[in-house]
Amino acid sequence: MSEVEIFRSEVKTWLADHCPPEMRMPITDDEICWGGRDFVFINNAQHSWLNDMAAKGWTVPAWPKAYGGGGLNGDEQKILAEELGHINARSPLQSFGISMLGPALLKYGSEQQKLLYLPQIARGEIRWCQGYSEPDAGSDLASVKTKGVDDGDDFIVSGQKVWTSYADQADWIFCLVRTEPDAPKHRGISFLLFDMKSKGVSTKPIKLISGSSPFCETFFDEVRVPKTNIIGGRGEGWTIAKYLLTHEREMIGSSDLLFGGDDVCGTARDAVGLNDDGQLDDAILRAEIGNFIVDEMAFDAHMDMTKGYMRAGNQLGARSAELKYLGTELNKTRQSLLMASGGANALTWEDAGNIVPQAPRAWLRSKGNSIEGGTSEIMLSILSKAILKMPS
């Protein structure tokens, strides 16, 4: 057996022993493991799956072992992902720490910072939120106003963030703060980390179109943040912020949450039925779904190639905007088709016996996909500048 084959058989055996049956079932939003100080595990299986995977370093297989990762090379990462896929294993840990902050720390953090923060992220001990957007700084993110006033060993942070996903449940925040008020817009921002339990931090959930409140307004009233909590140098926050965004976009574009949901064909078949030829008994919906599936196949192939490119150690950079744009627009189409399959039943929530129970909430949520992490318009602008080199 080659080394790769040996690795695959080891992975198979280990997963067979350690992935509990409950963790091999399709996952709903309520069953996601986010980790963090206050996280309540839904059952023992979820808890042991996280602990066992974290002990192997496989919550973050590509990260170096020294920081809690698996230290796997590109081939090994691919094998692990495939084997997890074969048994339909749930992700042991979803976290903004893994998908967003981690990559930024790996690139820009000091050795001390890496050793401090990364293992906690890998083990799911600290849950992070993203303090970027402000009421007047959305697409124009570099105009953030939250200020950090120099006070000896600390910054005193005051201001407001908005749309902070899960701020009310997060332990720590990574935050864009203007610490150099006299510098040009893009050079006055620092990238700070701080505890959400710090004095002066408060959050207020925002109610969404679907009635749930996954994001918040976040307020800082003279929050004291040690200067050692800065990543990179003073005024270098924008570079780090943008780098982190490429990882966020890659995450949104390739998210299992986007693509692991209800299967369009199966749902439509159950809801609409088949005709005598064994085709979906609605010619127009059938054609629309056909078109969607073809697009999805192309996207999947695109994604596979992109993943290979990244496993080979390359960074996506501006091309993350491509994935983000294509993936989220595709997901919105998918959600609309699931709604269409439901017919009149899609007017009702899941508890009303809707025949496509998850559809209305997922459909409403998907409207945010082309806004969060940078809007579709901003993605297209980035691509036209960075890839097509259009004059600006």
């Binding site: 697409s139 017919g343 409207k367």
Partner: protein, 375 residues
């Protein structure tokens, strides 16, 4: 509607629009629409006293108009206010009772004055908008009929005094022959309702008919006449819902346009970005096209094929345009468009849900093609 706006029509429009704007300020509207009742009985009473429901019916039927343009005008105004009151039920149950003749005259009168509330249950879990896809059974016996089955997503079922349901006297699911329509009074033995809130506010329910015994004069129509009546009633729904959708889009257009002018990013109002300008103009043009489609439909041509085609064309156009307007309005608002606090999100939900009532865009495209074949 701004078509054939004669003096009477202008007055009706003004009275209704002012009344609705006053009663359904958006926060108040949301409280009402997402409440357990799903509507406001007191406001409904005031609407009844204003006599507005009469606009949906001819003088012979006890109203004062019944013309397609007045039906459209009323529903466009309802759309602008996201009004959750049972107007559609009044229109459809009322027209069904008209067809039912003398035995239903008292109930009809009460519907037209607004003293009673009507609802219709034509959909079943597996119908997917097909009016003849009826599995519910009606059995004739010595005293009348016995009904068994479940009608799905019946809007305002819980508060209705009468529910017009389709059921099958004979034949298989999808046969047009063998159908019948009945007026089922609220509270009759064997009738139960499992009600719930809709995604866009308002309330609906599964109407469960279990050995429901009704008198023989509860029958409104049977056989091919029943199917023809179902189609006529659905046609009224197509017009009403299309006009409601148009009213909603008009409001969303203004909300979005205003936002583009007010919201500043990169030091300029976002309406300065040419991509957004073009997208906004596109929306406005599509809404104008949709308005034309609704006006076509409101003529309610005497030629059944032309009428049916116009109605499907309108509902299809509103469905398509509605999806686009909802999508774009949220997108152009950015994060704030996803929030409960912004009216635009509630308008977007109702707008898309209109496509899930009485046939979505796919259904009406197929129906339009089918009707074109016979022309």
């Amino acid at each position: 509607m701004d078509f054939k706006l004669n003096e009477d029509r202008r007055m009706l429009d003004e009275t209704l629009t002012r009344f609705l704007a006053d009663k359904y300020e958006i926060t108040k509207r949301n409280e009402i629409a997402y409440s357990d009742a799903g509507h406001d009985a007191n406001i409904w009473k005031e609407i009844a006293e204003l006599g507005i429901i009469g606009a949906l019916f001819t003088e012979d039927e006890g109203g004062f108009s019944g013309e397609g343009f007045d039906i459209a005008l009323v529903f466009e105004a309802l759309g602008k206010a996201l009004c959750p009151e049972p107007f559609l039920g009044a229109l459809l149950a009322g027209k069904a009772l008209v067809a039912g003749g003398a035995d239903h005259a008292t109930m009809l009168e009460d519907i037209v004055t607004g003293a009673k509330i009507g609802a219709v249950g034509f959909e079943e879990e597996a119908s997917h908008y097909e009016l003849a896809h009826v599995a519910s059974k009606a059995t004739k016996n010595a005293d009348g009929y016995e009904l068994d089955g479940v009608k799905s997503v019946v809007t305002h079922a819980q508060i209705a005094d009468v529910i017009i349901v389709s059921a099958r006297l004979s034949g298989d699911v999808d046969d047009t022959a063998g159908l019948a329509l009945f007026a089922v009074p609220a509270g009759v033995d064997g009738l139960s309702i499992r009600d719930y809130n809709n995604v866009d506010g308002g309330r609906a329910g599964e109407v469960i008919l279990s050995k429901v015994k009704i008198a023989s004069n509860a029958l409104i129509a049977e056989g091919e006449a029943a199917f023809a009546l179902l189609e006529t009633l659905a046609g009224y729904a197509h017009l009403a819902l299309s006009a409601e959708g148009l009213g909603i889009m008009e409001v969303m257009k203004l909300q979005t346009l205003e936002f583009l002018k007010l919201r500043t990013q990169f030091g300029v109002p976002i309406g300065k970005f040419q991509v957004l300008q073009h997208r906004m103009v596109d929306l406005v043009l599509e809404i104008e096209q949709a308005r034309s489609a609704v006006i076509n439909a409101a003529t309610l041509s005497d030629d059944a094929v032309i009428r049916g085609k116009n109605l499907s064309a309108a509902k299809l156009t509103i469905g398509e345009t509605g999806h686009k307007v909802a999508e774009e309005a949220i997108q152009l608002h950015g994060g704030i468009g996803m929030t409960w606090e912004m009216p635009v999100s509630h308008y977007a939900k109702r707008l898309v849900m209109i496509d899930h009532q009485f046939g979505d865009e796919d259904y009406h495209l197929a129906r339009y093609i089918e009707l074109s074949k016979s022309a």
